[in-house]
Amino acid sequence: MNCNEVELLFAEAIGDELDASHRASLHAHLAVCESCRGEFEGLSKTVTGMKTIDPPSRLSVERIGDRLVIGRSLHRSGRRMQPVLWAACRYAASVLIAFLAGYTLHARLPQVNAPQPLDSAPARSPGHHGVSFESALVSAHMHNPAGSGLATGLKILADSRR
């Protein structure tokens, strides 16, 4: 077997499809031909190197499938939605802080000589001189349900303190 003939067997030999008789002939040639041996070993090493790159074995088809479905709604759109979600969280936090601040302020301020701010404000409880925070919110809601909210309530409360 000469070098050209041997080279025709490289693909099958490296691809592990070479029959025993041809394999013997190939290795007999490689034992005496340094050039072919170098070429063969180089190509074999290349396959070995490529095979060291394995995907994670822990993944199953089902998990990939789940991710395939869920991934499109969460993974990708999640990247776009992230700023919106952060904005929503910031808004919710600011409303909560405003609520707590307003409630604390209301509890600490002296409840004397508070003017009646709204015609529609509910009746005050006996001994209570200001408009309660809760009643202000209810009043705002009754007055304008679409535009009611904590901010409106706080505004009414602030007005009631003037």
Binding site: G49, M50, T52, P56, H75
Partner: protein, 177 residues
């Protein structure tokens, strides 16, 4: 007329299943990209193209079609992220590697393989991946790709030589992997 969305197309052709190929597509992408999330992106993109293709005409050889599309999409992603540093996933690999630097070697090896694959034709790349990673026989690859077996072997050796030339300098590193 507005083209139907992939979801609409999928709804019209519910019999065509991508799921059995999902893991294969992931494997092809991961071997080129080496990143879990990027590989899943490739799976998704390939799935959409698969549905669109099936809406027109189902490929005669789904495996070959998917391999070609997945490899091309993966290489597009490789090109789009160059030059790039290791991402958090790869840094995690480094941190958990038994030997420090192993993951770096592996990432470099993967990048070199991807770079070599870019220089190949679709057919050479497809044959190489089908043989090395999918462990298909030359006859099966030939049938799938509609080529002569001798042509498949030629593609295989050319592809292998291209990768070898790229990787030669790393042979000592491989032996320690």
């Amino acid at each position: 007329m507005k083209e139907a969305s992939p979801v609409e197309q999928f709804a019209r052709h519910p019999g065509i299943e991508f799921q059995p190929y999902a893991e294969k597509v992931y494997g092809w992408a991961y071997r080129v990209l080496g990143r879990h999330d990027d590989s899943l992106d490739v799976v998704q993109d390939v799935c959409i193209k698969w549905v669109q293709q099936c809406a027109k005409q189902a490929p005669d050889h789904p495996g070959g079609w998917l391999r070609r599309v997945a490899l091309n999409r993966s290489l597009e992603m490789v090109r789009s992220r160059r030059p790039g540093a290791l991402n958090s996933e790869q840094i995690g690999e480094v941190a958990t590697a038994d030997r420090h630097g192993e993951a770096l070697d592996r990432a470099a090896l993967r990048d070199d393989i991807a770079a070599a694959m870019e220089t190949l034709t679709d057919a050479q790349r497809g044959v190489l991946v089908a043989k090395v990673y999918d462990e298909m026989t030359f006859a099966a690859i030939a049938e799938e790709m509609g080529l002569a077996t001798s042509t498949v072997k030629t593609h295989y050796l050319r592809g292998l030589r291209a990768v070898r030339d790229r990787l030669k300098k790393r042979w000592t590193d491989w032996e320690s992997l």
